[in-house]
């Protein structure tokens, strides 16, 4: 059965009912020769949370930019209606005026200003900024939203999830009729996500219309009343809450039924506990960068055997990335030691770690992952230039090395010279994997290996990870997605506040156990406080 045919867009305006709060009708948007949206129609009913899902490049961002006026009226074909009336959005200000507020995926707060100033920024009040008044107004909205923030705190001191909450408060401060949340949970902990969802539901019940864009289908199914599915610039399916079915959604997103996202385990690797450890971490501690005397990782010990995939669970900020960083020589150890094949490893830089046989794929491709000024070829070969000549790079061999990586990792690209910025998220991730593996490491450390990657590429990355393990690499995977960890790992360690809280094998593993260990008795976010006022 073809999912494309099953769901004819519902919600067409019926004669009697109220018009949709928001209606994008037959939108076609082209960039040069590329068609980003093709006759796409989305209708969002008043007072519903409407999910928008699709792989990277399916057209979600383009749709949002049209709604936000960033792609002005006239640069696309089709009609936008708000409450049944045709509107022409020429600039983001037009969207604001119509009560459409967007919380973009990337936070854009002013670090040097207070929470209050950030929330009320640019809102009336004449030429002089009355900071006190701003903070008072902001405090009111913070209280209404039950956020754990103090309007007077400098934004620079907030965590990235708190900054995200500031962005959301800023959007809601304008009392919009339509709130657009673009991947709002990627920086949030599970607890904060739950709070955000409660808030969205409460606002919806108060009449707010909301568009929710996310890669996490569990979140979409949990929160949304309806969902539109985009693929290749078309709306291929629309489902009401009663008909939600993750497999069908994924099927529509990728255009085929996904039988299994996760690869078969070879079995042997998981079972064989007798196998010697490739990587051993003994009582490792890492100092907190800002609070001397405090530690971000405390007394962590584990082993990983060759051919095994160890999953490290825990919330963002539990010390997972720091743990990988210390093994890889990016952070100094405060105590403990790391052994590779039984021998103590003393690396003080990533260079030495690479030479010793350890590879790392970082979490954030933009911050410390890829070199966006260079092409695919240069990005892949940089870790192992020495093999291409001591001074002058052998261009033929370099090309061959890059082409080999493209084949091996099925990277979709026009050529090895393509700038990495032009690749999709999934392909960028594969470039990072190829690079980390260029020197044939014994141990591979993966920090959120599928963040911002679409479902199809995810399945491929999982398959690659399993193939590497089968080839004898010891793999450590850090991930915030419990389903992902459960799907690809053989054994699990869960961190909370820098210490190991639980460890278990595949047979005892469950999402509940992972989440319980990650979140139990977690103290409230360290901000401030009602008592101060």
């Amino acid at each position: 059965m073809n999912p494309e045919r099953t769901g004819a867009p519902a919600g067409a305006p019926s004669a009697g009912g109220p018009p949709p709060a928001l209606e994008l009708e037959s939108i076609t948007k082209r960039f040069g020769g590329v068609t980003a949206l093709s006759d796409a129609t989305v209708r969002v009913r008043r007072g519903e949370v409407h999910g928008l899902v699709g792989e990277n490049g399916a057209g979600k961002s383009t749709l949002l930019k049209i709604l936000d006026g960033q792609h002005p009226h006239g640069s696309y074909e089709g009609v936008v209606r708000v409450d049944g009336e045709v509107v022409e959005l020429g600039a983001p200000q037009d969207a604001r005026r119509l009560g459409i507020a967007i919380v973009p995926q990337e936070t854009s707060v002013v670090e040097t200003l207070s929470v209050g100033e950030n929330i009320c920024f640019g809102e009336g009040g004449g030429p002089l900024a009355d900071v006190r008044a701003m903070e008072r107004h902001a405090a009111a909205i913070i209280e209404r939203l039950a956020l754990r923030l103090d309007a007077r705190t400098k934004v620079a001191r907030l965590s990235s999830s708190q900054k995200q909450l500031v962005m959301i408060a800023r959007a809601l401060y304008r009392e919009p009729r339509v709130l657009i949340l673009d991947e709002p949970t990627s920086a949030l902990t599970a607890e904060e996500t739950a709070r955000l969802f409660a808030l969205v539901r409460q606002l919806r019940d108060g009449g707010l219309t909301c568009i929710f864009v996310s890669h996490r289908l569990d979140e979409v199914s949990e929160l949304c009343d309806r969902v539109s599915i985009l693929r290749d610039g078309r709306v291929v399916d629309e489902l009401a809450r009663a008909d939600f079915d993750v497999e069908r959604i994924i099927g529509s997103m990728i255009g085929r039924r996904l039988t299994d996202l996760y690869p078969e385990r070879s079995g042997a690797a998981a079972a064989d506990a007798e196998r010697p450890a490739a990587l051993t971490v003994e009582q490792l501690s890492i100092r907190h960068p800002e609070h001397p005397g405090d530690f971000v990782v405390r007394d962590v010990s584990f082993t990983v055997a060759a051919g095994e995939v160890l999953g490290v669970g825990g919330l963002v900020g539990s010390g997972r990335s720091e743990l990988l960083g210390a093994i890889y020589g990016r952070l100094p150890l405060a105590a403990g030691r790391v052994l590779l094949d039984g021998e103590e490893l003393n690396v003080s830089s990533p260079r030495e770690a690479l030479a010793a046989g350890i590879g790392l794929v970082t979490e954030d491709r933009k911050r410390d992952g890829l070199l966006f000024n260079l092409g695919l070829r240069e990005n892949v070969t940089l870790a192992y230039l020495r093999s291409l000549g001591s001074v002058v790079i052998d261009r033929g061999r370099e090309r061959a090395m890059a082409q080999q990586a493209v084949r091996q990792f099925s990277i979709v690209t026009r050529s090895v010279e393509t700038p990495v910025g032009q690749l999709s998220g999934g392909n960028q991730q594969k470039v990072m994997l190829a690079r980390a593996l260029e020197r044939g490491p014994r141990v591979l450390l993966l920090d959120e290996p599928t963040v911002g990657v679409d479902v199809g590429a995810k399945a491929e990355i999982y398959r690659l990870i399993r193939a590497l393990a089968d080839a004898g690499v010891a793999v450590v995977v850090v991930s915030s997605e419990s389903a992902e960890l459960l799907g690809i790992c053989d054994r699990f360690v869960v961190l909370r506040d820098g210490a190991v809280r639980d460890r278990f094998g595949l047979s005892e593993a469950s999402e509940e156990r992972l989440m319980t260990a990650a979140m139990a008795a977690r103290p409230a976010a360290p901000t401030s406080t009602e008592e101060e006022r």
Partner: protein
């Protein structure tokens, strides 16, 4: 209407089937690169046309070789500056280093009677030492290179004043001045040295592991570090290269002047940065075009020569260069934004 499979089979559009979710991103356009090099040449072409119209003698061979012979010294430094800027740092001490190293060489050779070769080696070592100092303070202590190299600019100029008391050293050994005065078809040896250094610099960027590390460091130092690039060492080496090239340029300059002059290299710090920017290398690091820098140096020299030969007030050249820099950097920034928006 039937589809036309046969006729279209050879075209690239038909060769790439539209796979759902797997459409390859557009290829990097060569046109874009060509347009960029055109943008770099445009100010030079305009300047040449304007000055040729203003003054019939501008295009005479004698004037053209004068332009080349004048720009050679600062051009050599600008090559080094390009490589350093591509790694995300600058060196504002180049002029001072050129002056100090060449003056010390002249003093050692003329006043102390040391062999010329030893004087040259000492000059190059001074250049390397200043570079190493700039690089180490910048990378290890985290002081911005902008500040560090303004500091060493003062230190270099101060030491030169202290040694020279403003007095030039004359005459220099004929072995040195012969090199400075030698002409091939009215073109000085310094120009040939510059061309050789430009070619070497361009090859270094495009073909060597060091060049690749420079671009990686300038593009994203943290990512480069994760991939195993020794970012600090790469930067220190680039600083040392600039220091050595400043000494080389200083030596060529005193050889051509015939005197050890403490005022050598005045203004080179800004001229070289301006040339790099005009040449199309991004001030933000991560890209490098040494040939572009050569065009940048040429543009600046054509403007100053043209303004003088057209009989205009010479101060206009400073104004013109300042305006040109702002316009070109603005274009660079706008292009970047346009790229990001796509």
């Amino acid at each position: 209407m039937s589809p036309v499979p046969v006729a279209a089979a050879g075209s690239p559009a038909a060769a790439a089937p539209q796979l759902p979710g797997a459409a390859p991103p557009p290829a990097p356009s060569r046109l874009q690169g060509a347009r960029q090099s055109l943008a770099v040449l445009l100010p030079l072409v305009i300047a040449v046309v304007v000055f040729a119209l203003l003054n019939s003698t501008f295009l005479r061979y004698g004037n053209l070789t004068l332009i080349l012979n004048t720009l050679a010294f600062v051009g050599i430094v600008a090559v080094g500056q390009t490589l350093l800027i591509s790694a995300g740092e600058f060196d504002l001490s180049v002029g001072a280093v050129a002056a100090l190293s060449s003056y010390v060489a002249a003093a050692l050779v003329v006043r102390e009677g040391l062999p010329l070769l030893l004087g040259i080696v000492v000059a190059l070592l001074i250049g390397a030492a200043f570079g190493a100092f700039n690089g180490i303070v910048t990378t290890r202590l985290g002081v911005p290179s902008f500040i560090v190299t303004i500091g060493t600019l003062y230190i270099g100029r101060g030491l030169t004043e202290y040694i020279s008391h403003g007095v030039s050293i004359y005459p220099l050994p004929s072995a040195l001045t012969d090199v400075g005065l030698q002409r091939v078809a009215s073109i000085s040896l310094a120009v040939f040295a510059l061309l050789a250094i430009v070619v070497a610099g361009e090859l270094l960027v495009r073909r060597t592991a060091f060049g690749r590390r420079l671009l990686a460091t300038g593009g994203n130092a943290e990512a480069a570090r994760v991939i195993g690039v020794d970012v600090n060492r790469t930067k220190v080496r680039a600083f040392m290269l600039v220091g050595v090239l400043a000494a080389v340029a200083g030596l060529f300059q005193i050889a051509s002047l015939g005197t050890g002059d403490p005022a050598v290299g005045t203004g080179w710090e800004l001229t070289t940065v301006a040339a790099v920017v005009i040449g199309g290398t991004s001030l933000f690091g991560g890209t490098a075009t040494v040939v572009g820098t050569l065009i940048g140096v040429l543009t600046l020299q054509v403007i100053s020569n043209g303004i003088v030969s057209a009989g205009l007030e010479t101060n206009w050249q400073t104004v013109a260069i300042g305006a040109l820099m702002i316009v070109l950097v603005a274009i660079d920034v706008l292009r970047r934004k346009a790229f990001e928006r796509r």
